[in-house]
Amino acid sequence: MWGMPLSTFLAFVALVLTVLASIIWAMLSGRGEKQDDTDGEA
């Protein structure tokens, strides 16, 4: 892929998967948890 060996290409894949994992985790952990009552100002 892009002329590089698979082991190096996987670094890009790991980067993208980490970003996706953070989005999925934030969505799942937010579900069911009520709005935090300690929300402050800005």
């Binding site: 892009w2 890009f12 980067l15 980490t18 989005i23 985790w25 937010g30 935090d36 300690t38 402050g40």
Partner: protein, 473 residues
């Protein structure tokens, strides 16, 4: 250097802007809690991007390019693991727990948290001393990086680079405290991002795209496109662990979790910090591809500056310059505020019972910031040999002292007072003694044995002792 007046003018505008932020945030700082952690009211975007800005200093940008140039594309794994461990998992594991427990214990600094979590006043004094002493050394290394950056990128003498950038940070941190640190950090992360994206697009343009660049690199040495390639697994893995897990024990990074306003903001911040942290891969990639254009560089630190000076337009170059300077300044300011908090709040006010009210504490913090900042600048102008040696592992000593008792203090009910004490002292001593060996045993950075021994001591001594400290409910 072409267009020096143009670049310096852009930099001057940026500096004036930072000072204005310092004055504006000063008006919002009413208490010592505001000064040290922004009154726990910082939003997700500002917390996350200021975290990223504090993580990546100018040394990482220029040094990351040098690593990429030297070892090739395997260094992309450094960025990938940095984002996974240093950003995503750091926020996921530490964020919510840190915020909740520091609120319960009413702790605004790391030494304060240790003293209250373990009912161990000695920990406040010991950790404050370690933090204030070794963060000053760390300050010197950041200022040295800034001075080098001014010299290499702008042709400004090293001494003036240190003085100018150091004094600007001192001004805005002294006036605006933590609020100034995070708001300038937020802006600095945006500038760093813009500068790095411009660097990447220009690099891909001149190398004919990623595929063509990788082919050219492979022709120079196939080891430069493979993993672990010419670096080898031991070097790559130990380096990745050091720069990714180190963040977990650094007080200036953990402060972002005390100060964030809600658990919802932590969830949003986790995504933003992970995406923001992803820009870490750019210096390594550009450094590696720079070898296709400049295969015979004598000094690998010149990899990125050469790409910038040869292939970027004056406007793009100006943004990149400001971005690199911003990276160093954001780290310096984050460290400065933590050092003054450790000295004034933890040592003077709490440990030595100096009677000062809220307003006086802000003034004392301001004076301490100026004192530490000036000392750091003076040492950085001509660092003695010992300081230069210490800079290489100052942050590792802090992380080895703090990481295990902090992480297990958040999650493990079985921690004991004597376990925490053994862990802090053991991690501190092992990391120092290990690094003083020349060369270090097994080629390992002092951080790895320091943190490992700290974890082992905390678990073993806690299991063997009976003075367990339960969580505050």
């Amino acid at each position: 250097m072409k267009h020096p007046i143009f670049y310096l003018s852009i930099l001057a505008v940026y500096f004036v802007f930072l000072i204005i932020v310092g004055f504006v945030t000063q008006k919002k700082t009413k208490s010592s809690s505001d000064y040290l952690i922004g009154g726990r009211k910082i939003g997700a975007m500002v917390s996350a991007l200021s975290f990223v800005a504090a993580y990546f200093s100018s040394v990482v940008i220029i040094g990351g390019g040098a690593f990429g140039y030297k070892y090739g594309l395997s260094t992309l794994w450094i960025a990938a693991i940095n984002v996974l461990l240093g950003c995503f998992l750091a926020w996921l594991v530490l964020g919510k727990k840190t915020r909740e427990l520091t609120m319960k214990y009413n702790a605004v600094t790391l030494p304060d948290f240790f003293a209250k979590r373990y009912q161990l006043p000695f920990a406040r004094i010991f950790v404050s001393l370690v933090i204030s002493l070794f963060l000053i050394v760390y300050n010197v290394s950041i200022l040295k990086g800034l001075g080098d950056t001014f010299q290499v990128l702008l042709g400004v003498p090293y001494v003036w680079g240190v003085i100018i950038s150091g004094l600007i940070v001192l001004i805005y941190v002294s006036f605006g405290g933590y609020l100034a640190v995070v708001w300038t950090g937020f802006i600095q992360a945006l500038i760093m991002g813009a500068g790095l994206i411009l660097l990447l697009t220009n690099t891909l343009r001149v190398t004919g795209g990623l595929s063509a660049g990788v082919r050219s690199l492979s022709q120079i040495n196939p080891g430069l496109v493979e993993t672990p390639g010419i670096w080898g697994f031991p070097g790559l893995i130990s380096y990745v662990l050091v720069v990714s897990f180190g963040v977990w024990g650094m007080p200036q990074m953990l402060a972002r979790f005390y100060s964030i306003k809600s658990n919802k903001a932590i969830r949003t911040g986790t995504i933003i910090a992970t995406i923001g942290g992803a820009m870490a891969f750019i210096p390594y990639l550009v450094g590696a591809l720079a070898r296709t254009k400049f295969p015979e560089l004598a000094n690998v630190d010149q990899a990125i500056p050469m790409m910038v000076s040869h292939f970027m337009s004056p406007a793009a170059t100006a943004i990149f310059f400001v971005g690199v300077i911003a990276a160093g300044m954001s780290t310096f300011s984050s460290v400065l505020i933590i050092s003054s908090g450790a000295i004034v709040r933890d040592l003077l006010r709490t440990s030595f019972s100096v009677q000062i009210n809220e307003k006086q504490e802000i003034h004392w913090n301001t004076l301490t910031n100026v004192f530490i900042g000036v000392i750091s600048i003076l040492i950085a102008l001509k660092p003695p040999g010992l300081v230069l040696t210490l800079t290489a592992f100052s942050w590792a000593v802090i992380a080895s002292t703090c990481l295990a008792p902090f992480l297990l203090g958040l999650y493990w009910k079985g921690t004991s007072r004597s376990g925490a004490l053994a862990s802090m002292l053991g991690g501190f001593l092992v990391s120092i003694l290990w690094t003083m060996q020349k060369p270090p045993p097994f080629g390992l950075h002092g951080f790895i044995p320091g943190v490992a021994s700290s974890f082992i001591l905390l678990i073993a001594v806690s299991l063997a002792s009976k003075d367990k400290i339960s969580f505050l409910r």
